[in-house]
């Protein structure tokens, strides 16, 4: 089954490129402390050192003389961490709600779906800003805020899949054989919804990275962590003198998000 999946996946060239980029980003994030043993917050050179001016600091330094490339590497850690953890959290909220709504139908479905719509009607970015502002910016509150604004599509998707799977004959056979609703949902229904969930999740990781960057850009990031959004936000006032300060983090975000989207489509 796995080999089969690989064969199909590798036929899509975009997806393979996406995977390559993502693997590269992950490696950079993991190896950041080895390649750049110094803290990314440390001032290492004079401010506004242009890229490629000194071999030691290939992407130059920022307004306080901090190394840009080291910031990018540490930023990758934050972006990936936030993207993955918040997506997992969103799945943990969305899948059960969608599965229950789809499986039981009737008033359970009505109640859960109205609840979901409540979150969908509020603009997600605005809600995320409010949540982070209330709970003080920290990596935990950011992850929680992103998870809270991004689970409704998961619940919708799972509900739709479960609704159609529910009337399959093997589910009816399971009901007849006396299995409890919980076993049926876990063993018969959910395993068959996995492929669309995986696709959605990979796109959600991308959205979460964008959300985190946007929050950091507005100054609502975790003040102790270097992130791509923060770097762009800090550099926006000096964009005329030092274009590279916002350009390189921007490219990093673009590539990572693109990679995740390519994988999701493959």
């Amino acid at each position: 089954m796995m080999a089969d999946f690989w064969k199909r996946f590798s036929r899509n060239r975009g997806a393979v490129i996406g995977l390559a980029i993502l693997v590269f980003v992950i490696l950079v994030a993991l190896l950041a402390p080895l390649i750049f043993p110094q803290s990314p917050w440390r001032m290492v050179q004079r401010p506004f050192l242009a890229p490629f001016a000194m071999d030691q600091y290939p992407l130059g330094t920022d307004a306080l003389g901090r190394d840009v490339i080291s910031g990018l590497a540490y930023g990758a850690q934050v972006s990936l961490l936030v993207g993955l953890v918040s997506t997992v959290a969103a799945l943990l909220i969305g899948i059960p709600i969608g599965a229950l709504a789809g499986y039981f139908g009737g008033w359970v479905d009505d109640a859960l779906m109205r609840f979901t719509e409540f979150f969908q009607t509020v603009p997600s970015f605005a809600l995320a800003i409010v949540l982070v502002a209330i709970f003080q910016p920290s990596i935990e509150s950011i992850i929680a805020a992103i998870a809270i604004v991004s689970w409704p599509p998961v619940a919708r998707l799972v509900r739709g899949e479960v609704l159609s799977l529910r009337s399959r004959e093997y589910v009816e056979a399971a009901i007849l054989s006396g299995q409890t609703s919980l076993t049926i949902i876990l063993r018969q229904v959910l395993p068959n919804t996995i492929s669309p969930i995986i696709v959605l999740a990979s796109l959600m990781v991308a959205t979460a990275i964008l959300l985190e960057s946007s929050l950091s850009f507005l100054g609502l990031g975790d003040p102790n962590l270097m992130s791509w959004g923060y770097m762009i936000g800090a550099a926006r006032t000096v964009i005329r003198q030092a274009w590279w300060l916002s350009f390189f983090p921007g490219v990093a975000i673009l590539l990572t998000v693109l990679a995740l989207n390519l994988i999701g489509e493959g």
């Binding site: 009816e172 007849l176 054989s177 006396g178």
Partner: protein, 540 residues
Amino acid sequence: MTDPVLSIRNLKIALPEGADRDFAVNDITYDLYAGEILCIVGESGSGKSMSANAAMGLLPDLVRPVGGEILFEGTDLLKLSETEMMDLRGKKIAMIFQEPMSALNPLMRVEDQIAEVFEAHGLLTPKERAARAIELLTEVGIPDPEKAARAYPFQLSGGQRQRVMIAMALALEPRMLIADEPTTALDVTTQAQILELIRNLQEKHGMAVMFITHDFGVVAEIADRVAVMQYGKIVEAGTADEVLDNPQHEYTQKLIAAIPKLAAEASEGMAGKTPILEVEGLNKTYVTGGGLLFSKPRIVHAVNDVNLTLCEGETLGIVGESGSGKSSVGRCLVRLMQPDSGTVKLAGHDMAQLSGEALREARKSIQMIFQDPYASLNPRSKVGRIIAEGPMAHGVSKQEAYARAVKLLELVDLDALAIDRYPHEFSGGQRQRIGIARALALEPRVIIADEAVSALDVSIQAQVLDLLAELKERLNLALIFITHDLRVAAQICDRIAVMQKGKVVEMGPAHAIFNNPQSDYTRTLIEAIPGREKELAAAG
């Protein structure tokens, strides 16, 4: 004899690499003459549709002809360009398909669809086209053709849609008509009408008809000549009488022997046996539409006051056409559907009133075998798990449940190694055996088989029916066999209930139903069974 209309010479069609055989059709040769009906018979995967699709230039992308020729009035169709083919299609060769709903455009009125055929070939004025559409609809015997012409496909019944398809095919008076399983999706009475229509039109227009089917009953009804296909080869060809009455090839003999015989044997009376399932006054209605604005809700009595009894060790057939409510009865019995009223007494307990834990417990003794062997097994569970799940849900330990699963697999003639494999590794017939093993896992006393063999080829169908009969005998099961196929019912059932529009119109011992039907509806059903007259003639 005159020259053939269509002459296929040594045709070879290659399948893409990795398919289960190299050639879809391998070196086949046959002729089709004007004014005759040639039936191409075979089981699924025999390549019976392939040569017709090749003649129409409708082969799938990866499948291509690699040798031989298809001569239509002397020209080789395989060498024609796409534009030349387009001119030929519809005008000289027409085709009708199995599923009339998907072959018609749902958003176009019937007359426009017929007119489109003329338009495509640049014939007639719009006014003449409309007039011709009505003429054609009259010719194919649609009641009230003016009204039907203005209708959309969804407003017509299955049989009427197939008539519209035939009208479209006839529009340009083709020399040859290809019919690919045109009656498979239809009820038996409608099927009989459509077959008669095709026969009449063929005689009237002197067309050559290539009729592709899997059903020997249909062959007996309509064919002049028959070609039997197996694994891409024609194993036997000849006139209908030769092939049906005196088959030479082993495979043809096997296929014909596998057709369930119509004669039901008189079974010993059920008197003295204890009834295990008693159904009284069962009702189920569906309400659709209504509520919004002024539209009236549509109320359908799917099950209308049905009374049934089933004795231990008995097989009760419920037969009826689509929409007769036969499946709804089955689903109400196991409470996959909630009946509106009525009692379902299973060994004394009323199933219709139970809920929760008590229902779970009661369902152990009434299990179901489903129609579609592909949809009824969870594609992500291994076979062992599928069978063992039921007992495990009732507290049997995992080891014991799996040990029982192995025994059950042996019981249904499957290899014990099957428990570690996934359903997609099995064929349709094998999957249905797995479904039977699953139903048996809880040691039920009653099994409901809902169209359990309808999706299977006739030779496999015969095997599964034998298996069911044997298991029933061995385990003293009572069986409710829901089917649209009267031949199958005749073979396996002790008693039969005939359903129409939610009501049981007739119920009695199988041989009485077949030899001396009381209600008009039963009589129509039996008379419509394809191939019946031939069988009667052979018997008498």
